[in-house]
C-alpha cells in the first residue's frame, strides 16, 4: 500500500513481526527474535542483530588487579545470554493483541499516531533480574528508547549498563557533541566540551585489548556508514544515523568488537578483522580507577550498584 498519511504511522501486524513504517523509515519489531530487528532509513539497514541490554564492558587491567571479574564476572554471562520473556505492543495508548489468530482482526494496514513496543528481558544471573526496553515511535519516525533495569539485592556491582546495537558493516566515522577524548566517570575533568569527529574506530592500543573508547556526557551522536550487506544495493552514498539524548546526556562507545570479543584477546592481532560496528549506549558506566593495579577498587562514587534501579532513555532519529 502506498504511503498516504504523513501524520500517521503505517502499522503491519504480521505473524512474526510488527512493521512500523513512515516516510523514509521502516522498522521491524520481532516477536521471534525478541527485539528490534530492523531499522531502515531511506532504504538503508542499520541493524545486524536485535539490540540487547548490555551488562559488560571488557575488563581493564585495574579491574583484573582488584579482582572485579571474580566478584562481578557473572554479568558477562548475562551480557552474552539473555531471555526475552515478553513483548507488548501499545498502539495509541491501547495494549494490543498482536499474536495470531488475534492479529487477523486488524484486517490490513493500520494507521497509528504512536506505537510503543515493550520487551521484557530476564537475565541469567542468580538472582535473576529484569530489564524492560521500551521503543516509542512517533509519526516522524523518532524512536525513543526507555531502558529500565530493576535492582535486585544480592547482585554484584555492574561494569556498565546500557544497550548494544550491532550494525551490519564497519562505520566510516562518527561525530558527537560531548567531551573530548576517551572519558570515564572518574576521568573526565580534563576533557573539553565540543563537537568531535572520530574516523578511526580501532581499539585503543593498550597492550592487552581492554575496555576503551568511552565517551561520557554526550548530547548527540551521528554514525556514518556507506557499506551494506544488501547484494542489490548499487548506491554507496554515505548514510547517517543519529542518536540524541532525551532528558539526560548519555555515554557511548562505538567500536568494531563486542566486549566479549575484546575479552578473549591477549593481543590486538588476535582480534578478527574489523567488520561490524558495535554501538553501546550506556545509562551507567563504572570508572576505570587508577590508584594501583593490584587491589584498589574504583573510588566509591564511580561504582555501579546492581541492587538499585537504573533508568535512562535516548532517541534514535
Amino acid at each position: 500500500m502506498a504511503y498516504t498519511d504523513k501524520n500517521k504511522l503505517r502499522v503491519v501486524y504480521g505473524d512474526y513481526t510488527l512493521g512500523v513504517h513512515g516516510e523514509g523509515f521502516d522498522y521491524i519489531f520481532s516477536y521471534s527474535q525478541g527485539g528490534l530487528e530492523s531499522v531502515v532509513k531511506n532504504g538503508y539497514e542499520w541493524l545486524y542483530r536485535c539490540p540487547r541490554p548490555t551488562f559488560w564492558r571488557a575488563l581493564t587491567d585495574n579491574d583484573r588487579g582488584s579482582r572485579f571479574h571474580i566478584k562481578s564476572g557473572s554479568w558477562l554471562a548475562s551480557d552474552m545470554f539473555i531471555d526475552c520473556k515478553k513483548t507488548e505492543v501499545i498502539m495509541d495508548g491501547e495494549l494490543q493483541k498482536q499474536y495470531a489468530p488475534d492479529n487477523n482482526s486488524y484486517g490490513g494496514d493500520v494507521a497509528a499516531g504512536e506505537i510503543i513496543v515493550k520487551y521484557t528481558y530476564e537475565t541469567v544471573s542468580n538472582p535473576a533480574t529484569t530489564v524492560i526496553v521500551s521503543y516509542t515511535i512517533d509519526v516522524t519516525g523518532n524512536i525513543k528508547v526507555d531502558v529500565d533495569y530493576t535492582g535486585v539485592k544480592g547482585l554484584p556491582e555492574l561494569p556498565v549498563f546500557g544497550m548494544r546495537f550491532i550494525m551490519p558493516t564497519l562505520a566510516d566515522k562518527y561525530m558527537y557533541k560531548g567531551l573530548s577524548g576517551e572519558t570515564y566517570p572518574d576521568r573526565k575533568a580534563g576533557a573539553e566540551k565540543g563537537i568531535y569527529e572520530v574516523s578511526d574506530l580501532s581499539l585503543t592500543p593498550y597492550l592487552v585489548p581492554q575496555e576503551c573508547g568511552m565517551r561520557m556526557d554526550t548530547e548527540w551522536l551521528e554514525i556514518t556508514r556507506h557499506t551494506s550487506l544488501n547484494n542489490s544495493r548499487t548506491d554507496s552514498s554515505p548514510q547517517t544515523l543519529r542518536i540524541e539524548k532525551n532528558d539526560k546526556t548519555f555515554a557511548f562507545s562505538c567500536l568494531p568488537y563486542t566486549a566479549s570479543e575484546v575479552e578473549n584477546a591477549t593481543h590486538h592481532e588476535e582480534l578478527p578483522p574489523a567488520r561490524r560496528t558495535v554501538l553501546c549506549v550506556y545509562g551507567a558506566v563504572r570508572g576505570v580507577g587508577g590508584i594501583d593495579s593490584w587491589g584498589s577498587d574504583v573510588e566509591d562514587d564511580y561504582r555501579i550498584s546492581a541492587e538499585k534501579d537504573i533508568h535512562y532513555s535516548f532517541i534514535i532519529r
Binding site: N62, V288, G289
Partner: protein
C-alpha cells in the same frame, strides 16, 4: 693483574682499575674546538663489533682477548644494543622475581646465617650467558700521543676489559659510566679491544628492577684523549640568595698536570646573551697528586631557574699555563636556584615546591633501553606539553644527555641510584625480609655506596636535580643508611629521597629527608599528614597507569590544596615497556610483552603502565594529566 671470574660471585668486588667517578663535563683544547660538532678529543667506538655468545662462563671463548685469537667464527653485533634483541638470549620480562626463579635456588652471599660467600653462584652457573665482544680500531690522528681513556656509558651487568691482550679492568653497575685508562696499552693503529659481558653477577641482586632483563653494551662507548693538563672534576654550586635577585657560585676543581706544572683556573659566567656577569681567577694548589682549588664568586644580579623559567647561564672554566696560554676549556650551563625546608615544607626559590611528576624508564619499542637523542627530546617535549614538571629516573641513572635536557627544559629531577633488590624481601606481595639484600650486611655496603657515589659525582652539576634517590624498593638497613650518609655529607642543598623508611621506622631519621610512599591511597596520605607528620610528604609513585587507568587523579591533586606538607608525586609511569616484533602469523609489526617469548615464569603485561604507549603516542588518559598538572605545576 689478571681477570678473575670469581669476581662475579663476590659482592665486595664491583670495580677493578676503574677510574674514579667524576663530573660529566665536556672538555676542549680551545674555543675553536668547542664550536665543532665533533670534539677532536673524543672518538666513538659505536658501530659493528665482533661478537660471540656463550651460555655460561665455562663455554666462553676464554682467550678471545688475545691479540692473535682467531675470531673468524665470531658474528657481528651492533654496539650499543642488547644481546637479547640481537637474537642470542631469550627476551624476558619479570617484575620482582629474580631471573633464577624456579630454576636455581639462590640466596645472596651472607644474607642469612646459613649462607656463606656463595662462591660459584654466577661464575659456575650453567645458565649465565656471556657476550664476548671484540673491537679493532686505530686512534684518530688528533687523539694520538695523548693519554687515552675509554668510557662505557652503560654495560649490563658485569664486564671485563682487555686491550691488546692486556687486562684493563672490571666493572659492575650497569647504568653509570665506567671509565678505564688505556694509556699503558694503547697503540696508534691496530688496537684490539675485548669486552666480556656477563648477564649476571652479584650485581643481579642489586638490579632487580621491574623491567625486561637484558645484558650487553647498551650505551655509547667512547675513547677520550686527555690533555696533559686536564680538569678531572668540577663542581659548580650556584645558589640563589634570599632576595631571589642575586646569587653566588662556588666552583671546586680538581686537575691533573705534569709534576711541577703551574696551572691557573679562570672562571667566567655569561648570561644567555653572552654578557659576562662574573669572573674569578685562582692558582691551583697541589694536593694528593692533583691540583685543586675553589673559587667563590658573588653574582650581583641573577635570574632564578625554575620549571616556569629555566634560565641557564653559560659557565666556563679555562685552565691556563704560566704564560696565560689556554690549556683546556670546560663549558657548563648552570642555573641559580635555592632549595629549602622550612617547617617541614620544601621551597624552591621561596615558593612551595609542587611536583607534577612522572617516573620514566628509558625505553624504545625497537631498541629497548638503548634509546636515541630523538627519543629523549620527544619525551621532554611530551612532558612540557602536558605540564609534567618533574621526572624520577626510575630506577637507575639515565643517559647523560637526559640531565642536560632537563636542566634546559626546567624539568625537576629526582636522580635515582641504580639500586633495587625487590625480590629479596617481597614475596607474593608480602614483606618478608629474611634474606634481604643489602640490608645491613657489611659485605654489600661498599658496592651500594659506590653506586651512590657514581650517581652523585657524575651528575652533581645538574641544576635540575633537586633530589638524590637511594634507589627503589631495597628495604631498609645500615647499607641504605650508608648511602644516605654519603649524600648528606656532600651538603649540596639537595634532599635525599628513599621510599622504604616506612618498612622499618628505626631508619626513619636516617634514610630519607621526605616521607615518601608509593601507591598510598588518598586517605593514607591524609592519615600521615593529620598525625604529627615528621617530614614533608611525596608520592614517589602513584596513579598506576596500567592499560586504561588514571581514574581518580583529582582526589590526589586536591591534597595539594589541603596540606602544605604534601608536595605531589610522580605518576607511574611514562612509557609502556613493550617490544615491536614481527607477528609469526601475519608478518605484521606488533607489540609484545612478557610471556610472549616463551619466557616463563613471567609477569606478562605488567610492564605496560605508561601515560604514553610504547610507540610514544599519548594514551587517552593524558588529557586528564595535562589538565590537573596544568592547575598545579
Amino acid at each position: 693483574m689478571n681477570a678473575d671470574m670469581k669476581w662475579l660471585d663476590n659482592p665486595e668486588v664491583f670495580r677493578v682499575n676503574q677510574l674514579d667517578a667524576h663530573s660529566d663535563h665536556c672538555y676542549y683544547m680551545d674555543y675553536t674546538d668547542m664550536e665543532k660538532s665533533d670534539n677532536p678529543l673524543t672518538q666513538s667506538l659505536n658501530g659493528q663489533w665482533e661478537f660471540a655468545f656463550s651460555k655460561n662462563v665455562m663455554d666462553r671463548p676464554e682467550n678471545f682477548y688475545e691479540e692473535n685469537f682467531d675470531a673468524s667464527s665470531f658474528d657481528k653485533i651492533m654496539v650499543p644494543g642488547h644481546i637479547e634483541l640481537a637474537g642470542y638470549d631469550k627476551i624476558r620480562y619479570i617484575n620482582t622475581m629474580y631471573q633464577w626463579e624456579g630454576k636455581e635456588y639462590h640466596r645472596g652471599a651472607y644474607s642469612m646465617g646459613s649462607t656463606g660467600d656463595e662462591a660459584g653462584m654466577f661464575s659456575e652457573a650453567e645458565y649465565n650467558p656471556v657476550g664476548s665482544y671484540i673491537k679493532r680500531f686505530d686512534l684518530s690522528e688528533q687523539m694520538r700521543k695523548k693519554k687515552i681513556r675509554i668510557c662505557f656509558e652503560g654495560v649490563e651487568e658485569a664486564m671485563y676489559l682487555w686491550l691488546n691482550g692486556q687486562f684493563v679492568g672490571y666493572a659492575e653497575d650497569s647504568f653509570t659510566p665506567s671509565e678505564f685508562d688505556l694509556t699503558p696499552f694503547i697503540r696508534e693503529k691496530g688496537n684490539v679491544l675485548a669486552v666480556q659481558v656477563h648477564k649476571m653477577s652479584t650485581a643481579a641482586f642489586l638490579e632487580d628492577q621491574d623491567f625486561f632483563r637484558f645484558f650487553g653494551i647498551f650505551r655509547n662507548v667512547t675513547l677520550k684523549a686527555v690533555p696533559e693538563v686536564h680538569l678531572e672534576d668540577v663542581w659548580f654550586q650556584p645558589t640563589l640568595n634570599k632576595d631571589n635577585a642575586s646569587g653566588r657560585v662556588s666552583v671546586k676543581i680538581k686537575v691533573t698536570a705534569p709534576e711541577g706544572k703551574k696551572v691557573a683556573a679562570h672562571f667566567v659566567l655569561k648570561d644567555r646573551e653572552n654578557n659576562q656577569v662574573a669572573e674569578d681567577n685562582i692558582t691551583l694548589e697541589e694536593k694528593d697528586g692533583s691540583l685543586v682549588g675553589v673559587m667563590d664568586t658573588e653574582v650581583g644580579s641573577v635570574k632564578a631557574w625554575d620549571n616556569h623559567c629555566p634560565y641557564l647561564y653559560h659557565a666556563y672554566v679555562e685552565l691556563r699555563g704560566e704564560d696565560g696560554e689556554i690549556l683546556e676549556i670546560i663549558p657548563y650551563d648552570i642555573g641559580f636556584r635555592r632549595l629549602e625546608m622550612i617547617d617541614k615544607v620544601i621551597y624552591l626559590n621561596g615558593k612551595r615546591l609542587v611536583i607534577t611528576g612522572v617516573n620514566r624508564h628509558e625505553w624504545s619499542a625497537k631498541t629497548g633501553r638503548s634509546i636515541s637523542m630523538d627519543e629523549m627530546t620527544a619525551d621532554i617535549d611530551c612532558m612540557i606539553r602536558n605540564n609534567i614538571n618533574a621526572v624520577r629516573t626510575c630506577h637507575y641513572p639515565d643517559q647523560i644527555p637526559w640531565y642536560y635536557l632537563c636542566d634546559k627544559a626546567g624539568i625537576y629531577v629526582m636522580a635515582e641510584t641504580n639500586m633495587e633488590s625487590h625480590g629479596t624481601f617481597q614475596k607474593l606481595g608480602t614483606i618478608e625480609p629474611s634474606c634481604s639484600i643489602p640490608c645491613s650486611i657489611p659485605q654489600w655496603r661498599a658496592a651500594v655506596v659506590d653506586r651512590a657515589r657514581s650517581n652523585f659525582e657524575t651528575f652533581k652539576n645538574h641544576t635540575a636535580i633537586l633530589f638524590w634517590s637511594l634507589g627503589n624498593e631495597s628495604y631498609a638497613g645500615d647499607d641504605i643508611e650508608a648511602m644516605n650518609t654519603y649524600f648528606k655529607e656532600k651538603q649540596d642543598g639537595r634532599f635525599v629521597h628513599y621510599e622504604s623508611s616506612f618498612y622499618d621506622r628505626n631508619y626513619e631519621e636516617t634514610i630519607s629527608d621526605v616521607e615518601s610512599r608509593m601507591y598510598a591511597k588518598p586517605y593514607e596520605v591524609e592519615e600521615y599528614l593529620n598525625n604529627n607528620p615528621k617530614k614533608p610528604y611525596l608520592l614517589c609513585e602513584y596513579m598506576h597507569d596500567m592499560g586504561n587507568s588514571m581514574g581518580g587523579l583529582g582526589t590526589y591533586m586536591k591534597l595539594i590544596d589541603k596540606y602544605e606538607m604534601y608536595h605531589g608525586g610522580f605518576i607511574w609511569d611514562f612509557i609502556d615497556q613493550a617490544l615491536l616484533v614481527k607477528d609469526e602469523v601475519t608478518g605484521k609489526e606488533v607489540l609484545r610483552y612478557g610471556g610472549d617469548f616463551d619466557d616463563k615464569p613471567s609477569d606478562y603485561e605488567f610492564s605496560g603502565n605508561g601515560i604514553v604507549f610504547a610507540d610514544r603516542k599519548e594514551k587517552p588518559a593524558m588529557q586528564e594529566v595535562r589538565y590537573y598538572y596544568g592547575l598545579y605545576r
